[in-house]
């Protein structure tokens, strides 16, 4: 809007002075009211504890794993209230609330692509395939924070062996549920849905790669990827796909969602690597949740046993 010079018509000439002063009163009042309401809104959520915590079913008969770290576990309330789960929200504090009524049963997983027998499995049948282990893993997010989580599951290789892929299957692709009704984040175009991730077959067969359905002794909370997810501890967190509905074997490298989103920033491999920076920030250090100082990030997130998977590869190129 274009406004004439104030000098041209003094407003007091056309508006009676009293009205003018009233207006000033009104605006002063409005400013104070505005300031007060900002104060009110700001204080509103101070009183309400924002944390969501509810009892989950215990998982019995857990076996200990030699892969577990002895580092201090991140508190349960942090791992369940600070989640990158864009299907629900891009705000890490929101999935806890938004996923509260997410339906994880009935749930099936389609196994297809280059396999001997394509099939649709019930998630409870998958969970019973092998004995549940507790694996305390470091988990490093590409954003530069990390946590230590006692996951529950068994090696992904257990499922892959049973799925019986054909020799031409060189990669495994994981697809997250697409259900905008239940997942409000999918009603936005923030990412291309459904979320897709992938691993090279030898990565997927590595014993560290975990097929996960629980944590902290209990069934996986919804906001952490229930009912079934993978956990790939030597890769950035986004590689560990959540709420999986499809596992497809293929001869060609899958295009994972984040690579599709920004191919110069997120690659297919996405191994934790302190020497290869994200184009916009350093990956040399990380902040372990609960700690004040940053700690150095370790190559492969400290899981050196996977190094042989990448021997001879230029990890700067294959980031």
């Amino acid at each position: 809007m274009l406004i004439k010079k104030p000098a041209a018509i003094p407003s007091s000439e056309i508006t009676p002075k009293t009205t003018c002063l009233n207006r000033r009163n009104f605006l002063t009042g409005a400013a104070i009211a505005g300031a007060a309401s900002v104060t009110g809104i700001a204080f509103r959520d101070l009183a309400v504890p924002a944390l969501t915590a509810y009892a989950n079913t215990k998982i019995d008969g857990l076996q200990k794993s030699p892969f577990s770290t002895t580092e201090k576990e991140t508190p349960y309330k942090d791992v369940t209230n600070y989640n990158n789960f864009y299907e629900f929200s891009t705000d890490k504090y929101e999935p806890a609330g938004l996923a509260k009524n997410f339906k994880t049963r009935p749930w099936t997983v389609t196994i297809d692509g280059d396999v001997k027998k394509k099939q649709v499995l019930d998630v409870d049948a998958i969970i019973k395939m092998a004995a549940p282990e507790e694996r305390i893993y470091r988990h490093r997010c590409v954003e530069g924070w990390s946590i230590v989580v006692p996951w529950i599951g068994f090696s992904l290789s257990e499922l892959i062996k049973r799925a019986d892929p054909l020799p031409k299957a060189k990669f495994v692709e994981f697809t997250t549920l697409y259900d905008p009704q239940q997942m409000p984040g999918q009603r936005t175009g923030v990412l291309q849905w459904p979320y897709v991730e992938g691993l090279r077959m030898d990565e997927a067969m590595h014993p560290l790669a975990l097929l996960c359905f629980g944590m902290y002794g209990e069934v996986l909370p919804n906001q952490d990827g229930a009912p079934l997810r993978i956990v790939i501890p030597w890769k950035y967190g986004f590689k560990s796909a959540k709420s999986i509905v499809r596992i497809r074997f293929t001869g060609s490298q899958p295009l994972n969602t984040w690579q599709q989103q920004a191919p110069n920033e997120y690659g297919f491999y996405s191994n934790v690597n302190p020497n290869v920076d994200h184009p916009r920030w350093s990956q040399a250090k990380e902040r372990r949740l609960g700690e004040f100082f940053k700690r150095p990030t370790l190559m492969f997130n400290g899981y050196d046993q996977v190094a042989s998977l990448y021997s001879g590869m230029d990890l700067k190129k294959n980031f």
Partner: protein, 211 residues
């Protein structure tokens, strides 16, 4: 008197975001990653306050409430205050005063480069916010210098846009508001140009408040 009251109200309101952070910090209310919350919150408020100072001129002209100019300096100084807190969280809680690291970051990461520039450009404005400075510099020069706020606003929005991973909605909202506020000035500038041409300069124009 009214202005005084309004100023006190705005002063207190502008302290609320900080008070809230402090209160939450003392009550374990900042969530899993408190430092991230502090960084984002101080950054958000810096941008909100910059946009608020930029909206004073359009607002006072449209509503003809010219006294509004009286609260602009305080809001601008609060923008600088939150910008300083934002910068401090970066250099202290992110870089732990490792100046070498910081310099590398500023040179290498464009979102840091623009964010840092936006902050540096605020410093001369804060320093020359006194009445004495306006007299010293002269209204015209002072006004010219303070137009740097436009650049700071743009750099701040770019800084935000470049740091988000995928969800651009919030930076775009800020960008739209900034765009409207800057376009208003472009419009005013053009209309004044036009009226200067059509009218003979009969009466010397009284000193106007800066845009």
């Amino acid at each position: 008197m009214k202005l005084r009251l309004t100023k006190i109200a705005i002063f207190l309101a502008a302290l609320v975001p900080l008070g809230r952070l402090v209160w939450k910090a003392l009550h374990d209310g900042l969530g899993a990653n408190p430092i991230e919350v502090i960084t984002h919150s101080t950054g958000d408020w810096t941008l909100i306050l910059i946009l608020t100072t930029l909206s004073i001129t359009p607002l006072r002209r449209i509503t003809r409430q010219y006294w509004l100019i009286g609260v602009r300096r305080m809001i601008g100084l609060f923008a600088f205050f939150y910008g300083t807190l934002h910068f401090l969280t970066y250099i202290w809680l992110d870089k732990f005063f490792d100046v070498h690291e910081m310099m590398k970051d500023i040179a290498k990461r464009r979102f840091i480069t623009v964010g840092f520039s936006a902050f540096v450009l605020l410093i001369p404005l804060a320093l020359t916010s006194t009445a004495w400075s306006i007299r010293r510099l002269g209204g015209k020069n002072w006004q010219r210098l303070h137009r740097l706020i436009y650049l700071t606003g743009i750099l701040a929005v770019v800084h935000y846009t470049w740091l988000v991973k995928a969800d651009l909605r919030k930076p775009i909202e800020y960008g739209v508001v900034l765009g409207i506020l800057l376009l208003y000035r472009v419009g005013v500038w053009f209309s004044e140009k036009a009226s200067e041409k059509s009218k003979p300069p009969a009466i010397p124009t009284p000193a106007r408040n800066p845009l």
